[in-house]
Symmetry: C2
Subunit: 380 residues, 2 copies
C-alpha cells in the first residue's frame, strides 16, 4: 500500500469531510439557503482574518484577488512601493506594470522578508508613495515579512498597506485590524484545506475610500460590485458553489480549534521540521524563515529532482522544489491546512530514507528524533 | 420522499459520477499527470466547440472569460458593436464602458435574437466597426441569435466576432470554425454538467492577432499568458483542479454520446416543453426561442413567486423566474446538461399540479401528454 500525501505549499491536502461535503447535490446560489452560507462564511472569514472589515470572496485564483486589490487601490495620482523578494512578489510588480500603475520596485534579497525599516527608508526617500504592496509569506522562498511592523509605518503615514497573505492567513499570526492591513489577500488551496478556485480579499474602510474613488478599468475584479451584493449576502456573478460549501466546513472547523491554536500548531510543525533537517546536517534556505512553509537547501552531491521523484514514487510524499533561480537548489515542505505532527514525522522519515539511498551521510533517524523531541515537549 | 431537481439555466444538475470524481484526493497541478488532463481536456473542448482553435480554461465565472475576450480584442483604434437584447448582453456593454472601449450599443427588443441583417445594417452605417459582440443564447430571455448568419457578415468584412456561448456551447449547434466565430465563451455550470467555477474561451487565429497586438491593462485575464503555458499543457496561475477533474469526465461522456446527439436531445426537450405549455394555454415568451432554455409567460391570475416556491417546496423542482423587467412575468426551464426526457416530463407534471392548485383552468395532463407525444415520435 502507498498512501499519497501532499506536502506542497498549495494545493494542500483536503479533508475527506470537505471532499464529501463538496460532492453533495448542486444547490442554486440565488436562494435564501445560499445567502445563509454566504453570511455564515463571511462571519467566519472575519474571525480567521481577525477583522471587522468586509471580506470579499471571488471565483478565481489568488492572483485575481491581488489584482482586484492593487488595481482597485492604485488609480492615477497614487504611487505604490512594491517589495520584490520572490516569485510571487514579482507578480505584483507585473500587475502594476500591466495596468500602468505608478510604482517603485523595492528589491530585497531572496530568502529575506521586508522589515519596517526597509519600508520607512523607501517612503522617506519618496514622499509620493502612498501605497505599500508586500507579500506576508513569500511561498517561493519561505521567507516572512514583518507585516505588523510595516503596518505601523503605513498607518502613521496614512498610506494603504496591501498584503499578500496567500500562505499566511489561517496559518501564521495575521491580525488585520490590530496591525492595520488595508487589503489582505488569500486563496482557498493553502491553510483553508480546500481545492483551488476561491480567492479572498479583506478590505479596510480606508481601502474602500480609495476603491470608491478609483477610476481604473475593471469589471470582473471590481470589488465594489461584490460589496454591493454582499450587503444582501448575495454575489454579482455566479460563484464557485461547491467550493463555498466546502469553505463553510473548513472555516467552522478552524473556528472550533481556535485560530491561535491553528497558528501554534503550524508553527510547531515548522519548528520540528527545522530541527529535524538541521539535525541531519541540512540547512534552512531563508534568512527569515516563515512557519507556513519550510525551504531547505539541497546538499552537495544530492540530486534534487531525483530526490523529489523518489519521495513521490516510492513513498507517496509530494514535496515542492524551487522556482526560478532556486530550481534544483531547494526543497519545500508545507505546514498548512490538513496536516498534523505524524504526517510531518512521516515526511521527515521519508526524506531521511531517500537521502540515505543517494548516499548522503548522516545518522538515520536523527532528524525524526529531533522532530519528536519538539513535538513531545509541546504536548507534554 | 422529495427529490430535488434543478431546472435553473445554471447551475444545472451535476451527475453523481462527476461529484464523486471531484471528491477524489487532491492532485497537484505542476505534474506530468495534470498536464495529461489539460491535454486531453483541450482536445475534447475542441471537439465540443467544433474547432481547431486554442481553447483557454480560466478559474472564474463566464464573466471573467467574456472580459478576457472583449478586453483582449478591443484596444484603442478598434470599435465594437454590442448587441443589447437581455441582461447578459447588457453586461458586455458594461465591460466596454468599464474599460473605455469605443463601442456602439445595438438595442434589440428583449425576447428577440440578433439577425445577420441587424448586424449588416449597423456595420453599413458605421464603417469603423471592426468587432461584433453578441450573445448566442440570451439566458435571461431564452432568445436565440443567428451566429451562423452574423459570422458570414463579420468574416466578409474581416471583423472579429465575439460570441457569448454560455448557454449555447454543448447544448445547441455551435460550430466555431465553420461559422467563423473568433472568440466563443462558455462556463462550466451549464451544458458541461459541472458546478460553477470554470470559464472557457476559444480563440481564432484572427483574434490572436488582435490580442497579440493589444495594449489593454490586463493580467489575470490576459489570454496570452494562458496560451503560452498551454503550449506545454501547463497553466499560468493555480487552476481549479477538482473542477478540471470533473470536466474531463463530462467532456468524455459528451464525446461518447456525440455532440450532434447532445444537440438534438436538448432540442427535443425544448420542443416537448413548448408543446406542453402551449397545450395548457400558456405562451412562450421569446419571439426567437432558443433550445437550451425555455421561457414561458406567467398567465394572468397566477402568482409567479408562489408558483416557483411551491414547485420547489412541495415538488422539489427548482425553476427560474425572470430577471430585471421580466421579474414576475416569466418562468424559465433549462434543458442543458444532466437532464433527460423523464426529468422533463416530471417538471411539466409538477407545473400542471402547481397551476391547478392556483386555480388556473386547463385540462390536467394535457401538457404532459403533448410532451410525451413529442418524445414518443422521436424515439420510435
Amino acid at each position: 500500500m502507498k498512501k499519497i500525501r501532499l506536502f506542497t505549499p498549495g494545493p494542500t491536502m483536503v479533508p475527506e469531510d470537505v471532499l464529501l461535503e463538496m460532492a453533495r447535490p448542486m444547490e442554486h446560489h440565488r436562494t435564501a439557503a445560499y445567502r445563509e452560507w454566504v453570511k455564515e462564511a463571511h462571519g467566519l472569514l472575519q474571525y480567521i482574518y481577525q477583522t471587522k472589515a468586509t471580506v470579499i470572496t471571488l471565483a478565481g485564483s489568488g492572483t485575481a484577488a491581488a489584482e482586484a486589490a492593487i488595481v482597485g487601490c492604485c488609480s492615477k495620482g497614487h504611487k505604490a512601493l512594491v517589495v520584490d523578494n520572490g516569485k510571487f512578489a514579482e507578480r505584483w510588480v507585473k500587475v502594476c506594470a500591466a495596468f500602468g500603475i505608478e510604482h517603485t520596485r523595492l528589491p530585497i534579497e531572496w530568502g529575506r522578508g521586508a522589515k519596517a525599516a526597509d519600508i520607512q527608508k523607501a517612503m522617506d526617500a519618496d514622499k509620493s508613495i502612498d501605497t505599500v504592496i508586500v507579500v506576508h509569506s513569500e511561498t517561493s522562498t519561505a521567507a516572512l515579512s514583518d507585516i505588523q511592523g510595516i503596518g505601523k509605518i503605513t498607518r502613521d503615514r496614512n498610506a494603504i498597506l496591501i498584503a499578500d497573505g496567500i500562505t499566511a492567513i489561517g496559518a501564521i499570526p495575521a491580525k488585520m485590524d490590530e496591525w492595520g492591513v488595508d487589503c489582505y489577500i488569500t486563496g482557498s488551496q493553502k491553510a483553508f484545506m480546500l481545492p483551488p478556485g476561491l480567492a479572498f480579499v479583506a478590505v479596510s474602510d480606508k481601502a474602500w475610500q480609495r476603491i470608491d474613488s478609483g477610476k481604473m478599468p475593471i469589471l470582473y475584479n471590481d470589488l465594489k460590485a461584490y460589496r454591493k451584493s454582499l450587503s444582501d449576502w448575495d454575489v454579482p456573478y455566479t460563484p464557485a458553489i461547491t467550493l463555498v460549501r466546502g469553505l463553510l466546513w473548513s472555516l467552522r472547523s478552524m473556528k472550533e480549534r481556535g485560530i491561535e491554536n491553528v497558528w501554534s500548531e503550524t508553527s510547531l510543525m515548522a519548528k520540528a521540521t527545522r530541527a529535524a533537517v538541521e539535525a541531519i546536517g541540512l540547512k534552512i534556505y531563508p534568512k527569515d524563515p516563515v512557519d507556513s512553509v519550510t525551504a531547505v537547501l539541497v546538499p552537495q552531491g544530492v540530486d534534487e529532482s531525483a530526490l523529489r521523484k523518489t519521495m513521490r514514487s516510492k513513498h507517496g510524499f509530494q514535496i515542492a522544489g524551487g522556482q526560478g533561480d532556486l530550481t534544483g537548489k531547494i526543497i519545500r515542505f508545507s505546514h498548512m491546512g490538513y496536516v498534523d505532527m505524524f504526517d510531518t514525522i512521516g515526511v521527515l522519515a521519508a526524506l531521511e530514507m531517500t537521502l540515505a539511498a543517494q548516499n548522503y551521510k548522516f545518522s538515520m533517524g536523527a532528524g525524526v528524533a529531533a522532530a519528536q523531541k519538539v513535538f513531545a515537549e509541546a504536548v507534554k
